[in-house]
């Protein structure tokens, strides 16, 4: 793992890609910092950080697209997978390397509240809580990017898919608010989701019977619940979709609240996507 980690960090810092990433985050953060905190003397640092989260949509895909896809494309994965290291070590090494590259601008950003402190009173606890949330948000999105890089062997496709996924997650609260919050609308959405899940299961296991049974059972359960207690569905699709809004879990940190729920959420996203990455790589060896 250490070997892979060292090699990856080095390759980011000997090519353009790592520096471009660090440059853009610092540039944007610098602009907002100057405008909000320095010129207008706004005391909350969290707001400045939340203003730049949109840049992850573009920078994370660029940073993560090559992690695993490129290895497959160049067939260097043959070296990694035939070496005495486990797949989890490979994935973890790669993730930690990208996380390290991301940690560099975050550490530099840590200096900003101190600059503000020179001109007035700043709550450092609130400011650094926001930085912690910012770091976790970045790590979680990087895990998503690493996963998509393991799905395809074309880095460009990996980048595009990661962008789309992150973009949809970013917009999903807005999309959810377009759906009426009546219980009927929620039921319709859930039924559609169950149907999609059944199709996906069929695609994965190629067994029509199992897929059909799962699909019908799911739809029936939804229908029964609706008949028994339809109020359960009111506005529930919006709540359900909000789970996928990664960025919104950063909101509490913005206001300087150490949101444990948010910490758990981000860590879960990281773990889930890294496990999925390991599974994707392992599964491919059986195909």
């Amino acid at each position: 793992m250490k070997a892979i980690y060292k090699k990856e960090v080095k390759s980011y810092l000997t090519s353009m890609i790592g520096y471009v990433f660090i440059f853009f985050i610092l540039l944007l953060e610098g602009i907002y910092f100057t405008a909000y905190n320095l010129q207008n003397a706004y005391p909350l640092f969290g707001t400045t950080l939340s203003a730049v989260t949109f840049i992850f949509l573009i920078l994370v895909p660029v940073l993560t697209m090559k992690t695993i896809a490129e290895e497959r494309k160049q067939k260097t994965d043959q070296l990694l997978l035939t070496a005495p290291v486990s797949v989890s070590e490979i994935v973890l090494g790669k993730f930690l390397a990208v996380a390290t590259v991301y940690a560099i601008p975050v550490l530099i950003i840590c200096l900003y509240p101190m600059i503000m402190g020179k001109y007035g009173t700043v709550s450092y606890a609130m400011a650094y809580t926001a930085v912690l949330g910012f770091a976790l948000l970045g790590f979680a999105q990087i895990a998503v990017g690493v996963f998509w890089s393991s799905v395809t062997e074309n880095p460009v496709i990996a980048a595009v898919v990661t962008f789309i996924v992150l973009f949809v997650c970013y917009m999903i609260t807005g999309i959810g608010s377009l759906i009426p919050d009546s219980s009927m609308a929620s039921l319709a959405c859930y039924m559609l989701l169950v149907l999609l899940a059944a199709v996906w299961i069929y695609h994965m296991i190629r067994n029509l019977w199992i897929a059909a049974v799962i699909g019908i059972a799911g739809e029936a359960a939804l229908a029964i619940t609706y008949v028994v207690k339809s109020t359960l569905f009111e506005g529930s699709i919006q709540k359900f979709l909000a789970v996928f809004d990664i960025t919104s879990h950063f909101d509490n940190f913005t206001n300087g609240i150490l949101d444990l729920q948010g910490v758990v959420y981000f860590l879960s996203v990281i773990i889930i996507f890294l496990v999925l990455t390991v599974q994707t790589i392992t599964k491919r060896r059986w195909n």
Binding site: K2, I4, S11, Q78, L79, T82, A83, S86
Partner: protein
């Protein structure tokens, strides 16, 4: 050392490896031989744990490659068909990474990297970026990577493809040198390659083991020892009349002579009978000088073609729906060209 039992690998409906079983003993050079798409690379990829088999098992030094992957992989150094190189690293950086990945201890790393570079002749390239190296040097860097950590088994997938004749000879010498302390398995679709270095040959076709024996046995077993080529100065009728009395002759096949005064023929005799002396005195008595007489040379090529073509005939090419067959054919024409140059290279080395 290596025990392969009933290995099967299916890609959809296409069977790449079909119930392959063999075992490899310590300290010898084994050659996997087979036409393009025979399943050589797939077998090697399974043995090294890069891909998993559909069924069957591989034991490396007693360790199952799927159950104890790390212990098994530690015994193997692998050079895949396309050397797994990071183009934006220098040779030294790459080997350092490979050594660390293979868990070579910190204290041995430096010396081992130097030794390996020395062995493969890339010391001068140490600080060059891999992307700027020629194909031959890239191949050597790949080979150096496979040797790192001095694993007991070194598996090389087509190690000499794309190299020039001089490099091929060098790599062969290197393989022989390595075989003193390591067990080596190499694959090739080039026969001269395999017969030149390997102690033991396994011929694979359509994922099945067609023949496996020592190189010597494989050559001797051939029909070569009982067919004799003969050219005699004289009239055809006279020669025919004389040979009719030789009872060892089973078959006589006439060939066009070198010129009008000579006749040529191929004589097939019973197994393990040498009639050369008898023929010599016979012809000498009849004052018909023998211009040429020798056993037919049967090359590995003939054995190979005989074995693989017999196999191909009954198999109707998987209903022609092999998705992989098209790209493989493309590379096939490519490698065949290389094949020719290889052959020339070998001929040169024989001279």
């Amino acid at each position: 050392m290596i025990e392969v039992k009933n290995l099967v690998k299916k890609y959809g409906d296409h069977i790449a490896v079909d119930h392959l079983s063999f075992h490899v003993d310590k300290g010898q050079i084994y050659g996997f031989l087979g036409p393009n798409g025979a399943g050589k690379s797939t077998t090697m990829n399974i043995m090294t744990g890069y891909i998993a088999s559909t069924s069957g098992e591989v034991l490396i030094d007693g360790h199952n490659i799927l159950e104890e992957p790390e212990a098994a992989k530690k015994c193997i150094g692998y050079l895949p068909e396309q050397p797994p190189l990071y183009f934006d690293m220098t040779v030294a950086e790459y080997l350092k990474f490979a050594a660390e990945l293979k868990k070579v201890s910190k204290y041995e790393r430096e010396t081992q990297i130097e030794q390996v570079m020395e062995l493969t002749g890339i010391t001068a390239m140490e600080n060059r970026l891999i992307k700027n190296l020629s194909k031959g040097y890239k191949q050597r860097v790949g080979l150096a990577q496979a040797i790192l950590g001095y694993p007991e088994i070194i598996i090389l997938d087509e190690p000499t493809v794309g190299l020039d004749p001089k490099q091929i000879i060098e790599i062969r010498e290197l393989i022989r040198k390595l075989s003193e302390e390591h067990t080596i398995i190499l694959s090739s679709h080039i026969l001269s390659e395999v017969s030149a270095v390997c102690d033991y040959i396994m011929i694979i076709n359509h994922g099945k083991l067609v023949a496996s024996d020592t190189t010597e046995n494989l050559m001797n077993h051939s029909l070569g020892s009982n067919t004799l080529e003969l050219t005699v100065k004289g009239e055809k009728q006279d020669v025919e009349k004389m040979l009719r009395d030789v009872e060892e002759i089973q078959k006589l096949e006439w060939k066009p002579g070198e010129n009008e005064k000579t006749v040529s023929m191929v004589i097939t005799t019973e197994e393990k009978t040498d009639i050369r002396e008898k023929l010599f005195y016979m012809m000498a008595e009849a004052k018909m000088p023998i211009m040429n007489m020798q056993f037919t040379k049967v090359s590995l090529e003939d054995i190979f073609l005989e074995l693989t073509q017999n196999e191909t005939a009954p198999v109707p090419d998987e209903q022609g729906t092999k998705p992989e067959s098209a790209p493989k054919d493309e590379t096939g024409t490519d490698t065949e060209k290389e094949n020719e140059t290889e052959q020339e290279a070998h001929d040169e080395s024989n001279l």
